[in-house]
């Protein structure tokens, strides 16, 4: 377990790297709070997953109404990026319909708890008092913060109008109107933050306790705060780094954190494509007679399950993800691979040990390998592009506006031979030297993503080369060597850190985030690159704890 002392050392170490060294955390009353620039905190809209989790939390509703919403606009590979999420008339109408349906469904249960209203024949004193108390508590749950008195007054007016819509008195109708209205409020659909309203001289403020509770729970659970977090916020106990760390560790222990971690990996590595894109493309059934589209969701589950198991059950370090000689399969997957998996059934996934000379973490799982392949052959270009973009966080230069026409395919040659033109044609090579030599390392895995000894009888050369990396340039042979290099690469560690930062904050990193990112990297390194410690460290940064105050914070010239 980390101690405060250990963190102080880290803070000091970080500070010494930076010109703007301030006594971090040291609050000198003469100078006010000395806190670093947290970068921007754009207004974030709930994703469909977060919406569904929220209505589950509020009503126990498992119908997942947000599945009918227009899908999120994705940016930087994630669907929770504030800048991309906008609301069209269509989506506003979907919010409206969902809110109305949820109100109709759950208002009777709510009204049953409001006896003074359920039995009333008019909006009398008893019902007024009880409904106002309900609005205050229900609103706190929906808005994830206590309601102001004037808000209660306003929503009571909505309740009152609702009860009188058909001319008489109908308390149920009043409840319905409030529920449907609050579920469309910006305070529900967006994560509104105003801070504590105690900014320092630079115009930087701490988050309010309830805003902090919301940040924590959405980060680790993709969900609104639970009772414990709300209580902690009510008691203003979500302020110090220690308090945040303690909550982070508690949240990580809960099963809901597993789903959030799966969600991250699903998006970072675009695992949904294994199901969605591959289903539309399929595989050549002459070459793969056992190909069955039903395997695709299982391939996605295998990789998601592997990450979940590695992060939570094995408390894995980063290199384990890239090198682990085991995977998690159920019975159909075991058959698909030809693995012996005692105990596996249709429902039960089990861990199986694999030949470490062939298999290397998620890199050799069939889903991604089949995705980055053609129906009838591998695609080292796409495999290389995936590695370069998603795992090394590098963006290959854009292809020219008008690209030369692709050469025809000659199936009497190996895939490697067919890609030779990419090396000889200078117009191709400038880009493809970044991609092909990475992807060719996977050549022992066929278009279905399974091990092969040869390619249509031709011997396989799975040698490759890292170029233009910060720390692992050089030749490698096969995916096991590839995985070992990647697992120990600082560039990969930084890439993973950056991806988590984007996912956590719903935005790309900026120059102002250097200090926050350095702090996370430091903590990650100190833990010998354990993923869970990376997640905890995300809560300790300026970016996580503070926000710039609109109108008061100004960019330094």
């Amino acid at each position: 377990m980390k101690t405060t002392a250990a963190r102080s050392v880290a803070w000091g170490a970080v500070a010494s790297l930076l010109v703007a060294a301030s006594s971090c955390g040291g609050e000198d009353p003469d100078e006010g709070i000395s806190i670093g620039d947290p970068g921007p905190s754009p207004l974030r809209r709930l994703t469909r997953l977060e919406y569904n989790n929220a209505v589950f939390q509020i009503f126990g509703d498992t119908s997942q109404p947000a599945l009918a919403f227009a899908p999120e606009e994705t940016a930087l590979g994630f669907n929770n990026q504030a800048s991309a999420l906008v609301v069209s008339p269509l989506l506003a109408e979907q919010f409206l319909t969902a809110a109305e349906n949820l109100a109709v469904k759950h208002s009777p249960t709510i009204l049953a708890t409001l006896a003074s209203c359920a039995n009333a024949t008019s909006l009398d004193g008893g019902c007024t008092t009880q409904s106002q108390a309900w609005i205050r508590s229900f609103g706190k749950e929906v808005f994830r913060r206590p309601m102001a008195d004037d808000e209660v007054t306003e929503w009571f007016a909505v309740f009152s109008d609702g009860t009188a819509l058909d001319g008489g008195f109908d308390a149920l109708s009043g409840v319905e109107l409030v529920v449907a209205g609050m579920l469309q409020s910006p305070h529900f659909l967006y994560r509104v933050e105003f801070g504590r309203n105690e900014p320092n001289a630079e115009g930087i403020d701490e988050l309010s306790p309830h805003e902090m509770a919301t940040r924590l729970s959405f980060l680790f659970w993709n969900s609104p705060p639970d009772r414990i977090l709300i209580d902690a916020a009510d008691a203003d106990e979500l302020r110090t780094p220690e308090q945040l760390e303690q909550q982070a560790r508690r949240l990580l222990r809960a099963p809901r954190a597993r789903e959030a971690v799966r969600n991250f990996h699903r998006q970072w590595l675009e695992l949904e494509k294994v199901t969605e894109v591959l289903a539309g493309i399929g595989k050549d059934t002459e070459m793969f007679p056992d190909y069955d589209p039903d395997i695709l969701p299982l391939l996605q589950q295998e990789t998601e399950g592997f990450f979940e198991f590695a992060v939570f059950d094995a408390d894995a370090t980063l290199d384990t993800l890239f090198t682990a000689p085991f995977t998690i399969v159920n019975q159909p997957l075991a058959e698909f691979y030809g693995f012996d998996a005692p105990g596996a059934t249709e429902e039960q996934f089990v861990r199986v040990e694999l030949d470490p000379a062939r298999y290397s973490g998620f890199l050799t799982q069939a889903g991604l390998l089949a995705l980055y392949a053609k129906p009838n052959r591998t695609s080292p270009v796409h495999r290389g592009k995936f590695v370069r973009e998603r795992l090394l966080c590098q963006i290959p230069p854009p292809p020219p506006d008008v690209v030369p026409e692709a050469p025809d395919v000659d199936i009497s040659q190996t895939t490697r031979q067919q890609l030779e033109q990419h090396k000889t044609d200078p117009l191709c090579s400038s880009c493809h030297q970044m991609l092909d030599p990475l992807g060719l390392g996977f050549e022992h895995f066929d278009a279905m993503g399974r091990w092969r000894d040869d390619e249509n009888g031709l011997p396989i050369d799975a040698s490759g080369e890292f170029i233009a990396t910060t720390d692992i340039d050089g030749a490698f042979n096969g995916v096991v060597e590839f995985g070992a290099a990647m697992g120990g690469s600082q560039q990969v560690r930084d890439c993973v850190t950056t991806q988590w930062f984007r996912f956590a904050h719903g935005r790309g990193e900026t120059d102002a985030d250097d200090e926050s990112l350095a702090l996370v990297r430091e903590a990650f390194a100190r833990s010998e690159f354990r993923i869970q410690e990376l997640l905890v460290a995300l809560t300790q940064t300026h970016a996580f704890r503070y926000r710039r105050v609109p109108g008061q914070w100004e960019e330094e010239q």
Binding site: L90, G162, E389
Partner: protein
């Protein structure tokens, strides 16, 4: 001449928060009951990944042309077509984004994309489109008298970034299409099961609800800055759209305006793509017949969509985008890609057939329409965006002189095409998109 019109959002700023303060708009009347000029309608029809140019362009001259394999399904409508040779998407060679992103985001906007972090081939390279799309500009002018200023329907539009959106209310304001026919139907025509009392009850509730909700958004927006404020104002204007619709009567079935049966169908299944597409076209046509909208977009999949169209033959094993990237010498694959594009032409022909089947005035609904087939590329395997495969159908009430293959002699742009379209729809503006590429109408269309 250039006319500056206040946008909806501007109006909203002038009016304050409550669109409810507006007087009730007179109740809607179907187009065919109207006196005077019939209303004009426009439908954009988007298909992705370019075409196969040598199988697309007709042989022969302006009126004695012979249709190519890809356009052969349109033979019955030959006299209604304008096949537009030599029109470039010139703006789509500039600004942020890779070839597909620029082609898609500029498909109907004809101006450069915003900077942003949608990853394309070019990496973190582009944001949303940088201006209003032509359908929305037209909708601002002709859409105010209908329940929906415009309708955007999709068929397996599976991308939620700049490569999956062509309609924009303004810079950075994409409009997603509705991919689910059943949801689209209920949204446009109302719940077929609901009684008129229930509908009236819902209307009153929604007015009260949205009054409160809009006020919440406005107050919050007032406390925000820059992008956050902008985002909330976009939300507010979306709410105002709904509020505006609540001021009007709903659909009144009768005459040619009839309910249609929409079966529940999984809108994500590639093998059902033909059925989904047909339902969406039926809905679009009926929405026009009922005069619920006069501006529509049908978006078939998205840029770089790689769905395998197995329903066009068992030999089709590669996705559309992969097929589009094959070399010109790869005869079997070029044939398959041609087949895909022929199939799209058949869908375009179906849409024309349906519009022609609805009587209106002395003729048919189609007489008052113009349909515009657009793409984000000219040719898939080299990402060309010059000599775009543009085809229109319908004269827009006699505005266009159809039945011709019009090849532009000198450089012409899709900005000019859109100027022609807005003029056809009664908007007397000689510019659209980035004025650098916009030089009056496309010559020779009227």
């Amino acid at each position: 001449m250039s006319i500056i019109r206040p946008t909806r959002r501007d109006m909203l700023r002038y009016l304050g928060t409550s669109a409810l303060a507006l007087p009730l708009v007179s109740s809607y009347r179907p187009a065919f009951a109207d006196h005077g000029e019939p209303h004009k309608r426009i439908i954009f029809f988007y298909t992705p990944n370019g075409t196969v140019p040598h199988n697309f362009w007709p042989e022969g001259g302006e009126t004695d042309f012979e249709l190519s394999p890809i356009l052969t399904p349109l033979e019955a409508h030959r006299e209604d077509l304008l096949i537009l040779g030599n029109v470039d998407m010139e703006s789509a060679f500039s600004g942020p984004g890779d070839a597909h992103q620029k082609g898609t985001g500029q498909c109907l906007t004809a101006t450069e994309l915003l900077e942003g972090n949608f990853a394309g081939d070019a990496g973190e390279s582009a944001g949303w489109a940088g201006g209003i799309s032509i359908d929305q500009k037209i909708a601002q002018a002709v859409g105010q008298d209908t329940l929906f200023p415009s309708l955007e329907l999709g068929v397996l539009v599976g991308k939620s970034d700049v490569s999956g959106r062509i309609n924009y209310r303004g810079a950075g304001e994409p409009i997603p299409p509705e991919n689910d026919p059943a949801a689209a139907y209920t949204r446009i025509f109302g719940d077929p099961e609901a009684s008129s009392n229930e509908i009236e009850d819902q209307r009153v509730r929604r007015q009260r609800l949205l009054e409160q909700v809009s006020m919440d958004y406005q107050r919050l927006a007032d406390r925000m800055e820059d992008q956050d404020r902008e985002k909330l104002e976009i939300h507010i204007s979306s709410l105002a759209d709904i509020q505006g619709r609540l001021q009007r009567n709903g659909v009144e079935f009768g005459g040619e305006c009839q309910m249609i049966d929409i079966p529940e169908i999984d809108p994500t299944r590639v093998d059902l793509l033909p059925e989904i597409g047909q339902l969406q076209m039926d809905i679009m046509v009926m929405a026009m017949a009922c005069d619920l909208t006069r501006v529509g977009t049908l978006m078939w999949t998205h840029s770089v969509a790689d769905y395998v169209y197995g329903f066009l033959g068992e030999d089709l094993r590669e996705g559309h985008h992969s097929l589009a990237h094959k070399g010109d010498e790869d005869t079997p694959k070029v044939e398959q890609n041609t087949r895909v594009n022929i199939w799209f032409a058949e869908q375009f022909a179906y849409l024309i057939d349906r519009l022609k089947s609805i009587p209106e005035g002395d003729g048919t609904l189609f007489d008052n329409c113009v349909l515009v087939w657009v793409n984000e590329q000219a040719k898939g395997n080299n990402h060309d965006r010059r000599a775009m495969p543009y085809v229109t159908a319908g004269s827009a009430g006699g505005f266009f002189n159809t039945g011709r293959y019009v090849v532009q002699g000198s450089t012409a742009t899709h900005n000019q095409l859109f100027v022609s379209l807005q003029n056809a729809m009664g908007i007397p503006d000689d510019q659209f998109g980035n004025p650098a590429y916009s030089d009056g109408e496309l010559p020779g269309l009227t």
